[in-house]
């Protein structure tokens, strides 16, 4: 019975702590985590499509740039990239601001933490999205691209009417995976001071000494976010691939 009583105590402490304000802060943390993930995904989508186009280019130089991008940003630890952008960015900004005299010679101009964070995570996400887009493009039936040429479509029309809709359709499952990766990477930008879920859980754990409780709660919240996204992407996939499913 001692165990049950102690569990009951634990739960009531947990309830008190969460009700005392940590619960609300964790909710805000979720909001920031989703904001970081979405903005990073968008930055990654823009970079990823450019990099995919470069990797598919006929020009050796562009292909080299694309290959280097995906090799570097998938091959380096995410944390290193984040430090590089945040602290490296701060050093560059400070240097520029000091030399133009807009701040004093001993002042420091910090990289805005949200911006530094989403740039770093977005660039990493872009490396994975580039691979997804490239694979999707290669999966388009060559004949359909040829038909688009044969009917007088310009390169832009071919992209807009035939390539883009099919790449998006084929990319949805892959993008679902990248979205999960990006949610997890977003936890790393707690080091820059963005009050997302990881940082909030950390703060709560340290100031209340209930590490077990807060990391478990944060873990559950991350799991909820990553697993809710699965059915959403499944639904999106069913919608975008409707032309390949049997009509009802």
């Amino acid at each position: 019975m001692g165990f049950l009583n102690s569990l009951k105590d634990q739960l009531s402490t947990a309830y008190e702590l969460l009700a005392a304000g940590w619960g609300l802060q964790l909710l805000w943390g979720i909001g920031w985590t989703l904001a970081v993930t979405m903005v990073s995904m968008l930055i990654g989508a823009a970079l990823g499509s450019l990099v995919a186009a470069a990797k598919l280019s006929h020009r050796g130089g562009l292909r080299f740039i694309g290959e280097s991008y995906t090799t570097v940003f998938r091959g380096e630890p995410e944390l290193l990239i984040i430090y590089l952008f945040y602290y490296g960015g701060t050093q560059i900004l400070t240097g520029v601001a000091r030399s133009t005299g807009s701040i004093g010679s001993t002042d420091i101009l910090n990289m805005p933490s949200f911006l530094g964070g989403v740039l770093a995570v977005g660039i990493i996400s872009g490396a994975y999205q580039a691979e997804v887009f490239r694979g999707s493009f290669l999966a388009i039936q060559r004949g359909e691209l040829e038909a688009a040429r044969a009917y007088g479509m310009s390169a832009w029309l071919r992209f807009r009417l035939v390539i883009m809709p099919q790449v998006l359709r084929l990319a949805v499952p892959g993008l679902g995976n990248v979205w999960q990766l990006t949610i997890k990477d977003s936890a790393l930008i707690s080091v820059t001071g963005v009050a997302e879920l990881m940082l909030t859980a950390n703060k709560a754990a340290r100031s209340t000494h209930h590490s077990l409780l807060f990391y478990t709660v944060a873990g559950i919240l991350y799991l909820v976010m990553t697993s809710i996204s699965t059915p959403i992407f499944d639904k999106a996939e069913r919608y975008t691939s409707r032309s390949f499913l049997r009509p009802k």
């Binding site: 040829e146 038909a147 040429r149 007088g152 099919q166 032309s243």
Partner: protein
Amino acid sequence: MSASLAAAANAASSPDEASAISVKDMRKCFGNHEVLKGISLEAHKGDVISILGSSGSGKSTLLRCINLLETPDSGEVRVDGELIKMKPGRDGNQVPADIRQVERIRANLAMVFQSFNLWSHMTVLENLVAAPTHVLKRPRAECLEQAEALLKRVGIWERRNYYPPHMSGGQQQRAAIARALAMNPKVMLFDEPTSALDPELVGEVLRVMRSLAEEGRTMLVVTHEMSFARDVSSKVMFLHKGEVDCLGEPKEMFARAPTQQFGQFIANFNK
């Protein structure tokens, strides 16, 4: 070289009013393999020319060089009297000088492919209006109306909201022919339109093609359908190893093969 071929080559050098397509001395290599060894072809308005030949004879390449899906290494192509402008490329072979001109001319040369190549993410109706609205910039309502009429004509109007992967090969190919007709093309190019079809579906596609020939459309048809070549086309061109082996009226050519090669070719088909 037969007399009619000489006449065709002659006509190609002085494009006349009735010329729909004129090809002059077209050459094309893939690597070291010379696929087209100087081919000339003259199609007048209303001509239905069947292009025959065993596989590897260059017949599909010839068709694809006319709308520049492949770039011919040398030679001239005129469509409706207009020369497709070429310029020397880096490797010494010619490349299109003005891609806008090529795109404009392609829109007049609707192609029907062996494997249909309908856009799989669009419904049949969307397939028919995509190029007319975006390439020819015609009003969407007008294109939709025409598309529905064309689908009725080829007998698949009730499938207009289907996606191509949900249809049989014969239906897809009829949709592809309707897509070609929706461009109001000056010439239609058929690249083995029945070769990918199950035998029982060939008839429905040939019927549509025959009706197009009967209404006086200009058609270049690469095919293995001997009955179509013999009964429907106005001219037959037989390619052998990248050269025009013989060219003439189908009735005469099938009654008495002008060359030994062609004789063997039809004998193989009649086996």
